[in-house]
Amino acid sequence: MQVSDIKKKASEMLLSGEVKRVIGWKKGEFDYDLTPATFESVEELEDFVYDGFCGANLSKYLIKESKKEGKTLVFMKPCDTYSFNQLLKEHRIVRDNVYVVAIDCEGKLDIDKIKSKGIKGILSVKEDGDEVIIDTIYGESKVVKGEVMLEKCLTCKSKEHVAYDESMAQGVENVSLDRFSEVAKLEAMTADERYEFWRGELSKCIRCNACRNVCPACSCVKCVFDNDASGVSAKSNANEFEESMFHIIRAFHVAGRCTDCGECSRVCPQHIPLHLINRKFIKDINTLYGEYQAGADVDSRGPLTNYTTDDLDPSDIFGGNK
């Protein structure tokens, strides 16, 4: 699968009038600062790119774009299709107005990880197999790709798409690590150690809401934290309690619906590993109600919205009072 094939597909569909617009990634000032964008003409597609820095999940943009007149073509990586399904399940996307083309993903890069290796003055970033070659004004650097991939890609759920109208994917070998190993490490800590870990991380929060706004599961028209009438609206964390509670409440709200797309951690300017809170919920849900992957399909009932008389009480497994 070549980028030129993807662009060709987009041009053809725009020219034939089958779609009115294309959602993809647009080139930036540097190799790494791509912006999600809509393209409405073949000329605009000049700036279309698909490479190692296309980590952004495009599914949430469909809430808005699918309500516009005419069809929207969207290119999706495997993990994006889980979010897409989940949004369909929640009736947030007009399915008939979307044409999904599945594309391969070999894991995306994290520019912050590259920079945290002391690499700056970056002029270009190129992938060469398992190596990433970075040209800077201070000289050339080479790093192993596995060391500079996005967190979400290190524990990739699957290289297979769960929704599409057409696939251009040729298949990529799945090389994911156990995504619950980091959660298990946290569970092994004492309560005090865990509290210290999270206080250290969450004290960095600037309450920019990037995690919430990028999250495909956070699709409320008006978030309770933005609603003056709610009594809990807030623009900043007044104290440690609020720093923690914002993220805990958010994690509860998306529990059972979070597909583990990892966008929350990708966009956090302070690199708080927010995905670990969500993963803890996913792990617990799996333990209590059986293996469940949000977004794997559009029809099943979610574990937290479905009640059966066989449901366990959390105390049966985790102890404590009923």
Partner: protein, 341 residues
């Protein structure tokens, strides 16, 4: 000019912190931010802090006053706490410039006394740049990254920190640590400055064309169709505004306590849906309008009211932190002038 070996620098922090609260770029949980120095903290000079040092003078939240109700009486309590003198160490030239921008806002009549108190109490130790990054745009905004404008300017060359007092406050600070410093000539510092200036020439965003951003072009730029495309992917998060050293908008809010109200102010963000919302409604209903406000403010409105001074210092934090990689450089290249390729 004086100098001290970096191997001895924690001694310097220790002496300063006996007299003042000392803030420095400190690495915690993997990220560098300005934080209060205590023994054993890791001070990092070669990275940009995520949050800017504006926090020191304009904190994200600040209590203003409280109202306490007892029966039919209301007591007004001034919650202000006058800030004790403090030192901010390792402030890069772009961030030093941001205080000049903030002064224009908060020290103009009517003076914001909360900010004024902190400005008077703060001693700033600037740090010259030696390895600027590709996202650095300071020169485009008239900042010389080899000349931090501060109370003391400092440079790190070959394992030594060179210090030079600029103001009386700076002299006072250096006299406190005089026992740790030795006299130095500026040869090595001058060499570093010349080298940094050469590096600047290779940086892609140090020479942006901003000729079009004038008050005369205000309406024309305001009505540009390009704003739609520039803002289309904006998530409406507040990252750019909260990491920005010059964004200064704030909101005043009330927190209901058991027996009254605590009134506080906190940073606001023009990216947020209730920005400048009034009883009559919301003047900027779409994200495009709010996005446009941010850049018009920095590049057109602010300079029109402040002798041509932009309210951007080119630190590049928005360029490195925006979740969708939209930033002021892209806006300038699209709308700033003919000479942006």
């Amino acid at each position: 000019m004086k100098k001290i070996s970096l191997s001895n620098i924690s001694k310097l922090y220790e002496v300063i912190s006996r007299e003042y609260d000392l803030y420095a770029p400190i690495k915690k949980a993997g990220k560098v931010n300005f934080a209060k120095w205590t023994d054993g903290e890791e001070v990092v000079f070669n990275a940009q802090t995520v949050r800017s040092p504006k926090d020191m003078f304009f904190p994200q939240t600040m209590d203003l006053y409280s109202l306490k109700m007892q029966g039919k009486t209301v007591e007004v309590i001034d919650d202000r706490s006058e800030t004790a003198p403090f030192v901010v160490f390792g402030v890069k030239p772009c961030d030093c410039k941001s205080f000049e921008v903030l002064d224009r806002v908060f020290l103009a009549e009517p003076v914001d006394t909360y900010y004024q108190n902190r400005r008077e109490a703060g001693i700033i130790v600037g740090l010259g740049c030696s390895a600027p990054s590709e996202s650095c745009m300071c020169a485009s905004f008239g900042v010389d990254n080899t000349e931090p404008v501060a109370d003391v300017k400092s440079y790190i060359v070959d394992g030594e920190m060179y210090l030079d007092a600029i103001t009386d406050k700076g002299e006072k600070l250096l006299s406190l640590i005089a026992g740790l410093l030795v006299d130095a000539d500026s040869t090595k510092v001058d060499e570093q400055k010349a080298k940094t200036k050469e590096i600047n020439k290779k940086l892609p965003l140090q020479n942006l064309d901003m000729t079009r951003f004038t008050a005369d072009n205000l309406n024309e730029i305001f009505n540009e169709e390009e704003w739609e495309g520039l803002s289309e992917a904006c998530l409406a998060c507040g990252t750019c505004t909260y990491v920005c050293p010059t964004c200064q908008c704030y909101d005043i809010r009330d927190f209901k306590t058991n027996d009254g109200v605590k009134r506080f102010r906190c940073w606001d963000s023009c990216m947020y849906s209730d920005f400048t919302k009034m009883s009559a409604g919301q003047p900027r209903n779409t994200q495009m309008q709010r996005f446009r406000q941010r850049f018009m403010h920095k590049l057109v409105y602010f300079p029109a009211n402040n002798d041509g001074m932009y309210s951007c210092v080119g630190c590049g934090r928005c360029a490195t932190k925006c979740p969708i990689s939209m930033n002021i450089a892209k806006v300038i290249k699209k709308l700033g002038g003919k000479h942006n390729d």
